[in-house]
Each structure stands twice: as structure tokens, then as C-alpha cells.
Amino acid sequence: MIKILNIGMNHETAPVALRECLAKESANTDLALATIRELACIKEGLFLSTCNRVETLFTTEEVGEAKSAITSLLSRLGGIPEETFSSVLFIYEDMGAVRHIFRVASSLDSMVVGEPQILGQIKDAYYQAIREKTSGVILNRLMHRAFHVAKRVRTETGISDAAVSVSYAAVELAKKIFHDLKGRQVLLIGAGEMAELAARHLLRQGVGSIRVANRTFHRAVQVAEMFQGSPVSYEEISGQLLEVDIVVSSTASPEYVVTREQVKGSLRKRRNRPLFFIDIAVPRDVEPRVNDLDNVYVYDIDDLKGVIQINMAQRQQEAVKAERIVEEEVIKFEKWLNTLEVVPTIISLKEKAESVRQAELKKSLTSLTALSSSQLEMLEKLTLSITEKIINDPILVLKQKADRPTREMYLDIARRLFKLDEDDDEEQHHGSP
């Protein structure tokens, strides 16, 4: 009886120091897949390695042997003795392994639940396994189902809706204030990683232009070049407040860069157009009382982190829905796996032939009215022997293959040739790339 297993470690089970050992060698995947192909006890295998997880998904008939082979493979790859290792490894078997891979693909097992990268990484891992020919009937089916589950989770739940990074949360807020960011003017005061990230997000949303102010004008010119913006001097900030819509501030200045008086003076001239300050600096650049002014909104780093926390909580709620979808799909997959045995396949082959025979017989009998009972009997015998003869050879082949290692492949092909899985849609036919 074939078993599906998953052995590995992720951000929950293993500290980063250990994961690093395995992830740093980019050639590890090739090596792992090559080893998997060599190992007789492993039929199909796939190796997934990202910065948060290292996993081997495989099928085997000799569980004990395969487990120790994979564990020693992992220890060799990372250069870590097996003893240190075994405590951080997780081992999932059968439907546990199926559920796990579905959860990983739908980003339920990620450090940031709902993050979109993992699906791409898992697809890459699968395509690599295909290239190395370590993936077969069961893993092909399993992985395509996993991609399908990920798609369902993404479209049917709001798991990746709300922003969970500071710069992205700021952009989302800007959209709730301005609706459309196209053509809006942005002023970037100071520079820093987070501010630049926010500026990049804003540009992607189509903001009109970015102006950059910096204590040292030279630096302002540099940063402005990065965003095809225009540099302005530090003293011009007051004047710029009349024109811009969004201000991203992240200077190292110990006192406020933008004061309430400054903003208040500009409001009437701005004709009260909304003004949104994103203050990423610590200590803060924008005087908090600026937020009290009408049509002016100030979000500092703590406010943005607060927003993220709410969004995180929302994602957790959506994750409950996603888990239900995963559960549904696990049950479906289990059903399919159970049919991948010789006897059930032969039974459904016979049933299919019989149902075709009955349907065709019924169709013809409506026009063949004047038949005697002996003729009817003949017709019955004739059709029966035709269908039996036709499926006899396929059944013999399947019986012969019952104990061969290629059994799954023959079963899978038989099921496809005779279309024995009714609910089976296009999903698995755009199969192997």
C-alpha cells in the first residue's frame, strides 16, 4: 500500500539558524532530487526549500526505510548531525501530508498568513521535480490539487485582502482618503528604507510626481533620481504643503519638521483639499496636533502598526474559512487516492461498460419494435459479449500490474482513457508541463 509522507521543518519547528544551514545552498534542491531518484524505497519526491521552510514530500511503500533515508539526506544537505535534527523535524503521513501541503500552498502555514509568494515557490519546486522526473502520478495529482486549493482560498476568502506591511497599509489608507491616487502629488521628506518602499508603492498606484526634500540637498537630488522626481530644498517644505496631497516623512530630526501652524496656514490656500501625512520617523516628524485640523490626517508609525494588527486579526478570521476549504479538498483527494487500486478500478471499468451498454440498448430498442423474445435474448447476449471482450484485455493488464512499481501509472492511465472519474475536470489535464 502506497503512502504519502512529508518530512521537513518550518519557521515554527526550527530556529532560523538551522533553516539557514539548509537554505543557503541553492544547489541543494538538485542534489536532493537526484538522491530521491536514486533511492529505491522512494517512488516519487519533491523538495521545497524557502527561507521559512525546508520540506520533502514523497511517496513510498516502505515507510521506515524511507523516513530514515530522507532524514539522513536532510542532515547531509545541511551538514548537521541527525541527533540535533530530529527534534525539529515534522513528519506528516497520508492525509496529514496532503492537508499540510494544501495548507502550505494556500499560505495558511506561512509566517505571515496569506502572503502570496509561497504559491510561486511551491510551483517552482514542483516544476523542478517534473524536470528531474521525480514526480509521478500521485504527486502530479496532489500538486495540481494543491494549486487548485490555493486558488480557491484566494478567491473565496479575504485572506490576502488587507495590507500587513507598514508601507502598504499607508497606501491603502491613502486610497480611502483620495479614492484614486492618479495624479496626486507626493512629498518625500528624508529618506529611509520604509519611506522609499512607500514611495514605490505610491508610484505603482499612479501618483503624479514625487518631490524629495532632504536636509542635505545633494542627497535629495540622489533620491529624486531614483523615483524620477524633483528635488526641493528643506526650506521649501512650507511652500510645498500648498501643492502636495501626500507627505511621507522619515527624517532623523529630533524636533518636528512639520508643525501645526505651518499646516494650518496652508489649508485655506489649498482650498481645504485633503492632506495625508505618513510619518514613519522616530522621533516623529509631524506634530501630532496636526491631525486635529480639518481635512488633514496624520498617521505615525504606531498608528500604521495598529492598522496592521487589525488586518492580521482579520486574516486569522478568514483563515478559518480557508481551513474548511482545505478540509473539503483533502476528503476529495482521499477519495481519488482510494480509487487508485486495482480492484476498484476494475469494478468501475465494468460498471462503465455496463452503463454504456444499457444506454445504447435502450436507445436501439425504441426503434426495434417487432422483436420476438428469443431475438431480444440474442441481442442481450451479443451486446454483453462485445463489451466484455473489449474490456477484458485492459483488465488483464491491470491485474498483471497489480504488484509492479508502475501500477499507479497504469491505473491512472486506465482511469483517464475510460474517463472513470466523473467529477474530474480540466484541472488535471493541463497536467504535466
Partner: protein
């Protein structure tokens, strides 16, 4: 026939309102689509009802409180349907439909009285007067709803408490734009309504202006909206302050519409319109 159409419209509007409320909670798009269709069907029934009444009486059906409320509700829904084409805001229905439904419910609870339509009411000027005033009122109802939505959304963003309505409500800019458009179009209608009313008064009563309480309150309402529009256009008022002012102005409008008609008015009151005294 009349009663049947009215009942049908009422039921459809109530069902649609329920759907819109479910939509804002559950965020299921199909619920929204069906609510919109049902509301549209209700609006059609309601239109037939009003057309039938107009045909039967020869004057816009606003002579009783019952009819006026139903007509008001009809214009609000009509304007929502038009605004939907421009703004495509699904959540707007969840705020507009309950308002329209409320008016319909109040209207349906008022017992219908036999209306005797005096010949003097059968004037084109009266129909123009009533029609423009009600379109104006409907548009102002839209400004009111947009202002309430704006204040909810604004306070969430300002106070950094992003509740469950935050993601459901549109952006501040959109809400302010709805408020602005509805005001821009509503004000000329109100103005036309008052002028045509004066012309009708001259024609029917012999004087343009009689210091009737409803006339006075209408003038106050008009002045409020004129001030609001002026501030918006000339000074650049917008956002929270404009929203609060919108709500104040609409409250005065409602007082003029209901209060002045019921208790204060002389010949504008529904009692006298109903046919016993007045005019």
C-alpha cells in the same frame, strides 16, 4: 389596482432594503445584485402607481401627507438609481434604501382619505412646482446620506479606529463628491420649485408671496443651501464641515416638509389641501 401597486412596491422596497442590509454585513455580491433588481422592480411598480394616480386626479399625487411621503420616497429611489449609474457605489444602497423604506412605511400607515381635487389644482404650474421641489428634495436626501456616510468614515480615519464599516464604506473623496454633485443639482431644482410656486400662487391666489409659514421655512431652507453652496464654491469648504452643514440643512428641510405642513401652515397644509378649508 392602486392599492395593489402600492402594496407591491412597498413589499419589494422592503425586501430590497433587507437585502441591502444583509449585503453590507455579509458582503456577498449576489445579494447586492438581487437587492438592486428588486429595488428596481419596486421602483417600477411605484412609478406605475404614481402615474395612475396622476392620471386619475390630473395633479401630482402630493395632496395628502400619505401621498407626499410616498412621492418623496419615489424620488429618492429614482435619484439613487441615477447616481448608481455615475458612481457605481454598491454600499450607497444600504443607506438610501432604508431611508426610502422608512418613508414608505410611514406613508402606508397613514389612512388614505378621499381626496377631492379642486379645479384650481389642475394647473401645469402646480405640477412643475411640486415636481421640481421633490426632485430637489430627493437630491438633498442624497447629500444627507452621503454626509452621514462621510462622517462615519471620516471619524474612523481621523481617530484611527478602523472598524468593520471602514472597509465597506467608500473613500472620503468619493463621498464628498456625491455630496457635492447632489447639492449642485439639487439647489437649482429647489430654486425652480420656489419660483414656479410663486408663479402658481400669483395665478391661483393673486399674490406671489403670502408669508405663509411654509413659504418662510422654505426660504430659510433655501438660504441654508445657498450658503452651503457658496461656501463650497467660493471658499472651498469640503469634508467634515460641509457634511455637518448638509445634515443641518436637511433637518431644516425635513422640518419644512413635515412640520410646517402639519402644524404651522395655512394653505400649504395637507388638511386644507385635503379639501375642506383653505384655498
Amino acid at each position: 389596482m392602486d392599492v395593489l401597486l402600492f402594496r407591491l412596491a412597498l413589499i419589494l422596497i422592503l425586501v430590497a432594503t433587507g437585502g441591502f442590509i444583509v449585503y453590507i454585513i455579509k458582503q456577498h455580491k449576489p445579494v447586492y445584485r438581487w437587492s438592486y433588481r428588486i429595488l428596481f422592480a419596486g421602483f417600477l411598480c411605484h412609478s406605475l402607481f404614481i402615474a395612475h394616480q396622476y392620471y386619475a386626479m390630473g395633479v401630482a399625487p402630493v395632496l395628502t401627507m400619505k401621498a407626499a411621503l410616498s412621492f418623496f420616497s419615489w424620488t429618492i429611489i429614482g435619484i439613487y438609481l441615477i447616481f448608481h449609474i455615475k458612481f457605481r457605489l454598491m454600499v450607497l444602497g444600504s443607506f438610501i434604501a432604508p431611508l426610502a423604506a422608512c418613508l414608505m412605511i410611514i406613508s402606508s400607515t397613514i389612512p388614505g382619505a378621499e381626496v377631492h381635487v379642486k379645479p384650481i389644482f389642475r394647473s401645469a404650474w402646480l405640477t412643475i412646482h411640486v415636481g421640481t421641489i421633490f426632485v430637489g428634495n430627493g437630491l438633498f436626501a442624497m447629500t444627507f446620506v452621503a454626509a452621514i456616510m462621510y462622517l462615519i468614515q471620516e471619524s474612523q480615519i481621523k481617530n484611527k479606529r478602523l472598524g468593520s464599516l471602514y472597509s465597506r464604506l467608500p473613500s472620503l473623496e468619493t463621498l464628498d463628491a456625491i455630496n457635492y454633485y447632489a447639492l449642485m443639482y439639487g439647489f437649482p431644482f429647489l430654486t425652480m420649485g420656489m419660483i414656479s410656486g410663486a408663479i402658481y400662487a400669483q395665478y391661483a391666489l393673486g399674490s406671489y408671496w403670502r408669508w405663509d409659514p411654509k413659504e418662510v421655512w422654505s426660504l430659510i431652507t433655501w438660504l441654508f443651501y445657498a450658503a452651503l453652496l457658496h461656501e463650497r464654491l467660493a471658499v472651498g469648504w469640503r469634508g467634515r464641515r460641509a457634511a455637518i452643514m448638509t445634515i443641518v440643512a436637511f433637518s431644516i428641510l425635513i422640518f419644512t416638509f413635515v412640520g410646517a405642513s402639519l402644524w404651522l401652515s395655512d394653505y400649504h397644509s395637507f388638511r386644507s389641501l385635503g379639501g375642506r378649508a383653505g384655498l
